[in-house]
Symmetry: C2
Subunit: 143 residues, 2 copies
Amino acid sequence: MSLRPGIAFLADCPALLAMEIIASKWSMVTLFALTDGPLRHGELVELSGGISRKVLTQTLRRLQANGLVERHAYAEAPPRVEYSLTDLGRTLEEPIRMLTAWARENGEAVVTFREAAQAARTIEADQATLVKTPHVDENPSRF
Amino acid sequence: MSLRPGIAFLADCPALLAMEIIASKWSMVTLFALTDGPLRHGELVELSGGISRKVLTQTLRRLQANGLVERHAYAEAPPRVEYSLTDLGRTLEEPIRMLTAWARENGEAVVTFREAAQAARTIEADQATLVKTPHVDENPSRF
DNA sequence: CCCGAAGGTTACCTAGAGGTACCTGACGGC
DNA sequence: GCCGTCAGGTACCTCTAGGTAACCTTCGGG
């Protein structure tokens, strides 16, 4: 231990537990969608790029149970339910916004890289089946 | 659709795919650990607060396959392998740092809230069992 | 009286995350 | 030889995230 200072904190529990809650695709998306103001269940489904209603409900309940999101149900004619960030949730706005901005800016690059790597691995595998090359170096994908 | 402008992008695919890769507890922890410089496998295990060696390897391979992390194996006496961020991975430094800082600052608050809510629900449930006996027959009318 | 909308819940299923335990393989020290 | 280190790989297991599909409830409208 005691490598570079300021890293070892990773083992500290509450931070890791908090990470466990927010560090999921749907938590991120949901929290981000709420950074611009309260939204209804149906609106969140539309905005979130494919989340199912069940999973959205689960996600919201989890965020609610951890004090990041509030649920307001209005006793109206067509039942209306709005979700919004709590004060604690609002402290997440900036980090989430930055991460989302990163995903928007670099998502394409990631996908491009992944596909190139995939293609490279495929070719490599083809060569391996043709000639069993000695193949010493990295990428220990067995022969 | 067409609610507040600038939200609907969430449905856009590459961003969502990128989110899927980095938005996991161990990806976050691993990437954060690497923001301060290259680290070896064993160092990452120690720093990451409980990740198993198998899962660390899986996580690193996934990040590597998506162009965020590089693996350098040195052919030395005791095999040495170092992992570092790629240029693309380095663009994640700031977002990850912010999120990690948030987790460190607010992890305690989240855990506190969760435990309070848990206690409240327990009391509520106790009252329900005391007052509401006919909980049994609330099964869905199956026919 | 049935329909549709809104916001759920429930049952059922699969895929993947993640853990433990044990094996490999090259080296160095004894 | 035998043991220990480092970075894995593999087998096997469990648990949950997440998806589909169906049903419920309350309302107003036709």
